[in-house]
Amino acid sequence: MHDLFQRLISLPWDQAPQWFFLFPALLMLLAAAAAVMLRNLIHCALCLTLSFIALGVLFIALGAEFVGFVQLLVYVGAVTMLILFAILLTPASEVAASNNPFRSFQLSKALNAVAGGAVAMLVLAGLLAAIFFSPHAQAAVNPAKAATAPAAAIGENLLNHTLLPLQGTAILLTAALIGAALLAKEDKRS
């Protein structure tokens, strides 16, 4: 008993924090899998939210506080609400069952799984290639540089080096907002 306790306490517990990121990472993967597999659409959306939250936690655990908080604020606060409202406002269950436009493309289940897996692998490979060949990858791998990304530095970068893309995004979003308002208004009149 005493020996066991001594051995237990002498394990390298101080190395444990390095492995903490596994919790949010696994949670994120499980929630994402559930979001794809569950039958009820609202449950899918809630699981997707859980995976967003886990991603935010992962960012924070890796030292990118600002990005993590923005992830929570934007994805949990806004995007999820958009998805939930979209699900609630569309009669989705009937569409999925009867007149699915992709029905004629559906093959056997096994073939479907293989095709889906291939597409997922391609997307993953593309993403990995984009990450590894980007000029920022080297900076991110260097832990001394990546450890602290204060909000001030991000803001400075955003407003100095990437001001034009930022403005472009802003115009795009405003245009989308005006378009959505127009569509909604048209709908009301008819």
Partner: protein
């Protein structure tokens, strides 16, 4: 006085020393050799635990006091007695309420989505209890020092909307869904001016850390007027906007229409009973205290004393005094104002509060770059004053809506 100022931190240090001593004594007694990293790790964990226990204890006590104080104050304002059966002047009323809630039956509707219905109160209370972590309660008394603390607050606040949706949808009840929709529409609409007015304080302080914002409000001008942001034209406007937004975010009167009992039974809380209902109630009050704490931090000088000769009172006393004053004002508002109609509520958010928050942002920027002198004062007062008058004139006076009003059924 130095002793009182340091009391909370000294208590924490005492507990840590106690744990350290007890652990060392136990290890020598049992003959266990600790690895060198074990003690610092243990002390870190214990200090985190101490802070968590302190936050939860303080907020639970405030919640209990608030629940009885609110009813007493409301009763006083309405010429009634209020609760006066349990204990001295009804002071034990929260205990009685707690026992009642715990012993009530926990009803779940047959058509409800059981899992989501069970998870909704948890999703509601978890972010609410995490909110108070970044608020500076006194000099050097911040539970978690974050460089992006303000952002943390609003990121967690986003979780509340999700919990309200879960509660409303899973109840499988039309009143619940309607109430949840109203609550989400209200929260999304009022979050915008709320965040904008927090941005104003962060802009002038030049930091997103709550401690930094409080420190930027230190000192006095003319020797006795504190440099709190509320005593500037833009800060006054932003503070009022934040206060209104805080009322709306915590679903308090006059913004309590998601749970308007005359129309929607109790909104998303309709199908909740017993302790789950109590948890929603608690999350609402803790959220209210937290957002008031943020208001104190952003605009009312946080833990700073209002005059130089009152600085002998400990800083954390000032913080809680300001918090209590704000909580009282919210009860006062509840006793005074009637409930908004849903279209009035949306109009007020999008047509008045959002433009005003933009005006205050511009005024703050002008004040910042015009040197903070009399010129800056005048310019920023103009920049917030003109939109205020214009918006009030064009959006909220009757004269151009009276003509095209038609009474369909009375003619």
């Amino acid at each position: 006085m130095h002793f009182l100022e340091n009391l909370p931190l000294a208590t924490k240090k005492f507990i840590l020393d106690l744990v350290k001593g007890a652990c060392g004594w136990l290890c020598t007694k049992l003959g266990i050799a600790l690895p060198p990293w074990a003690m610092p790790l243990l002390l870190t964990l214990v200090s985190i635990l101490v802070v968590i226990v302190a936050i939860i204890a303080v907020y639970m006590v405030m919640f209990a006091l608030m629940s009885v104080a609110e009813r007493k104050i409301l009763a006083r304002m309405q010429n009634r007695y209020g609760p006066n059966r349990a204990g001295w002047f009804g002071i034990l009323q929260p205990v009685a309420d707690g026992i009642k809630m715990l012993t009530k039956e926990d009803l779940v509707p047959r058509g409800a989505d059981k899992i989501v219905h069970f998870l909704a109160p948890i999703a509601m209370v978890a972010p609410a209890l995490m909110l108070p972590a970044i608020i500076p309660y006194g000099t050097g008394m911040v539970p978690v020092e974050l460089s992006a603390g303000i952002l943390y607050f609003f990121a967690l606040g986003a979780g509340t909307e999700l919990a309200v949706f879960m509660a409303g949808w899973s109840s499988n009840n039309k009143y619940s869904v309607m109430g949840a929709m109203r609550a989400i529409a209200q929260m999304i609409s009022y979050e915008l001016p709320l965040v904008m007015s927090a941005v104003i304080a962060a802009l002038v302080a030049g930091t997103l850390s709550p401690t930094g914002i409080v420190e930027a409000q230190g000192g006095y001008s003319l020797g006795f007027i504190p440099n709190w942001f509320v005593f500037t034209p833009w800060g006054f406007v932003a503070c009022l906007l934040f206060y209104i937004g805080a009322l709306a975010e915590s679903n308090r009167c006059p913004f309590d229409l998601p749970e308007g009992e005359s129309e929607l039974v109790a909104g998303h809380l309709t199908e909740y009973s017993g302790f789950k209902y109590a948890i929603f109630f608690m999350a609402e009050y803790v959220g209210m205290f937290a957002i008031n704490g943020l208001l104190v931090t952003l605009f009312l000088g946080g833990y700073k004393a209002p005059c130089p000769f009152l600085e002998w009172i400990p800083s954390w006393c000032w913080f809680f005094a300001k918090l209590a004053l704000l909580a009282f004002s919210m009860v006062w508002v509840r006793a005074t104002l009637p409930r908004f109609r849903i279209d009035q509520m949306m109009q007020f958010a999008w047509k008045f509060m959002l433009p005003m928050s933009f005006a205050a942002l511009i005024a703050a920027a002008v004040w910042y770059y015009a040197g903070r002198g009399p010129l800056a004062w005048g310019l920023s007062a103009l920049i917030v004053g003109i939109p205020y008058l214009a918006l009030g004139h064009f959006c909220f006076t009757r004269h151009h809506t009276a003509d095209n009003r038609r009474y369909l059924y009375s003619e």
